[in-house]
Amino acid sequence: MKPGVAIRILVAALLACAGAGASAAPRLPASGAEVLEVLPWRADPQQRELRDLRARLQEAPRDLPRAVEVARRYIEAGRREADPRYYGYAQAALDPWWRLAAPPPQVRLLRATLLQSEHRFPEALADLAGLTAQQPDNAQAWLTRATVETVRADYAAATRSCARLSSLADELVTMACIANVGAMNGKLAASERLLAVLRARAGDGAADPAVDTWVLTMLAEMAQRRGAAADADTRFRAALRRAPRDTYLLGAYADFLLDAGRNDDAAALLAPHARVDGLLLRHALALRQGGRKRELVPELTELAARFDAGERRGDGVHLREQARFELALRGDARRALAIARRNWDVQKETADARILLEAALAARDSASARPVLEWMRSARVEDVQLARLAAQLDPKFNLAGGKA
């Protein structure tokens, strides 16, 4: 890092700390007409409907179907707006059953979903195991269970859960579930081929739009991991046409653009999404890689304040992003490594592996990278970026039996 940049980042960080710590200056607004806050839930009809539903639930808070409906709608809103406050409202709707060891199945599925969104994976898995034991034909429960098992790198269990779907859900969903596990587990090329064939057979746009976006995103990431940039780009853009505001998709495509050095494209893609921490982070990375230093400074301050707020709360939800922030934007490799290691204890996806390897390289601490290298070996992970980093950390690294 150039000293000039380092000093500027330090100054930005110090200002951010000052701003985030003790709230700097409570003020008296100058005029009664001054608008202090714009509320998110007035404008669109979905929100109005949600408010009516909530009002009806307040009349009968123990009405199970009503409560489940309200919780589900809030979770959808949380997803749509990428706003975690809605998850809290969803939990409130489920309050009469929230603390039961074995709540009604509908509640248990939603509880698992909410626990998962807070990265409380072991608790989510306990609920999903109980639920699938109680209702072995609950396709949704098996699918969610497979996802959590994949995040926890328990690929054998995830494959078993996906297999349970075959008689319960349609072919594309079942195969997408299996391919998602297989692609992490030594069968990247075969999984990608199979999934592409099935999607083509289902006919372009024939499937449910949400499923299609999901499958397309998955295919794009598989192409990216084998280093086929053109295929990945085409698929990412096709998925974005279907779901232009999908937070995960925007983040994944931005990462792809950043790796390709298409910094201005990445910045333009994310410019309207600064409210979402993970997307603001990538926007700042695009500015930094593109040398747009003047625009970068306020974003660094804002990100520092946001991560600080998360840390004070004791949340572990954005450890992955925070580690990237510390490494790439603050240049603090040791702190980034410590955070990336904490994150690795919670979740084990390629992005989690990558930030840990990058931080270990920058901190010259190859011992810390060992669990990830071991995971890559034992799961036979194929990914051009991870393979490149692993080779830098350990020149003798190769995937025993894998096709690196």
């Binding site: 890092m1 000293p3 000093i7 100054v11 110090l14 700390c17 003790a22 709230s23 700097a24 409570p26 003020r27 607004p29 009664g32 007409a33 001054e34 608008v35 202090l36 806050e37 509320l39 404008a43 959808e76 949380g78 990428a82 975690p84 406050r85 998850y87 809290g88 409202y89 939990q91 309050d95 929230w98 979903t113 998962q116 969104s117 396709a139 949704q140 969610t144 996802t147 995040v151 319960l168 349609d170 449910d208 949400a210 499923v211 999901w214 937070t247 995960y248 983040g251 409210r275 921490d277 993970g278 982070l281 946001r306 707020a309 998360g310 709360r313 939800v317 954005h318 992005a351 010259r364």
Partner: protein, 379 residues
């Protein structure tokens, strides 16, 4: 099948691979309590998001989605009543009486907050207990981030529906422990920071000798040695206190690689001076000059520990005091030993020259490591 798709959409909603980051922000409030020393009063300031208040009790009178200062101001009474009914303070087992004060506006990363001032009349003694239920019924994921300040110590608490109650330790013990932690860290840092020890030792080695022509001879009286040590230690202390404070308060910031390299260089030069004396009678000046650099090094440790918000001065003074205590302990061990051995050939040749040579070697390796970001030594 239709039903499965509805559920499927929902599943996508929360699958981790569909949400890389908690976006926007979960709901938090920021509660600051200040207890007066030996007083009955606790002062409070409570930042609560306007968005959360609107969701719970409604602030947007004209329902246009835009909260104006008038709309908020008109609801100040309702806000204070709602919030204070969900905060329960007690001291020594007896409840405190909460009285609302005025409200201002402040901004946090996720929007505008009301800043509710209040006073609490509490019993004089006993531990302070906080019971926090704000928004527990409408958003169980809401958290209250409280900091309780008592004199110089600040305790932070994270309160929420899964942990609504916490007790803050009472009085002097609590006040001292935060401060003492910093003192302890200061001592520890100078003891395990070999570069600081070697720098100090390099400067102190010749303190029991005087230069006589081209060679060293022992000082006659302990006073002369003591005066020399005192000058060096004082200069070093004053210098690093200055830069430690400047850096910790954010007035000056230097890249840590430069600082660490300059510290290694200072050790190298201090040791070199014992073999090829340049700064003979002015070692205190060298101690001052390089002490400035070491202060920046101390500051980076303090930055890792984190200064306690609201107790900045106490953390800083505590840490610095720890560094001085650690340093005096080193001097107290070193000086009698060196004074006892000062007239021996062993001290003048092996300890002074050989020791300085060894220090130079270590310092040179450090310098290489730090300049070129290598790893050569185990420490």
């Amino acid at each position: 099948m239709k039903r499965l798709w509805t559920l499927f959409t929902l599943f996508l909603a929360c699958a981790t691979w569909s949400l890389p980051a908690a976006a926007h922000k979960p709901s938090d409030s920021y509660l600051r309590l200040t207890t007066e020393q030996n007083g009955a009063d606790v002062r409070g300031e409570w930042d609560i998001a306007l968005r959360d208040l609107d969701y719970a009790i409604g602030l947007d009178a004209d329902n246009d989605g835009r909260l104006t200062w008038d709309e908020v101001r008109n609801r100040h009474g309702a806000i204070a009543a709602y919030a204070l009914a969900r905060l329960h303070l007690e001291r020594g087992g007896a409840a405190c009486e909460l009285m609302p004060g005025k409200q201002l506006i402040d901004n946090h990363t996720d929007g505008a907050y009301t800043v509710l001032a209040f006073a609490a009349r509490c019993p004089r003694t006993g531990p302070l207990a906080v019971d926090y239920r704000l928004f527990a019924d409408v958003d169980p994921q809401h958290k209250g981030l409280a900091s309780v300040r008592d004199g110089t110590s600040v305790r932070t608490l994270v309160l929420g529906s899964d942990r609504p109650r916490a007790t803050v330790d009472d009085g002097a013990g609590g006040a001292a422990s935060g401060f003492l932690d910093y003192v302890r860290h200061g001592i520890l840092h100078i003891w395990i920071g070999y570069d600081h020890i070697l720098f100090l030792v390099s400067l102190l080695l010749p303190a029991v000798l005087v230069r006589d022509g081209g060679s060293w001879r022992a000082v006659g009286r302990p006073r002369a040695a003591l005066a020399d040590v005192l000058k060096i230690v004082t200069a070093f202390t004053v210098a690093h206190s200055i830069t430690l404070s400047l850096a910790a308060l954010g007035v000056v910031a230097l890249p840590s690689r430069w600082v660490e390299s300059a510290i290694a260089l200072s050790v190298l030069l201090a040791a070199l001076n014992n073999v090829l004396p340049v700064a003979r009678g002015r070692r205190w000046a060298a101690a001052f000059l390089f002490g400035l650099v070491h202060g920046f090094g101390f500051a980076s440790v303090l930055a890792d520990l984190g200064l306690q918000p609201g107790a900045l001065a106490a953390s800083l003074v505590g840490f610095n005091l720890g560094v001085e205590i650690g340093q005096l302990a080193i001097v107290a061990v070193f000086l009698p030993l060196a004074y006892g051995m000062r007239s021996t050939w062993f001290y003048r040749r092996v300890v002074l020259v050989g020791g300085s040579g060894a220090i130079m070697l270590v310092a040179a390796l450090w310098l290489g490591e730090r300049l070129f970001d290598l790893k050569l030594l185990p420490v």
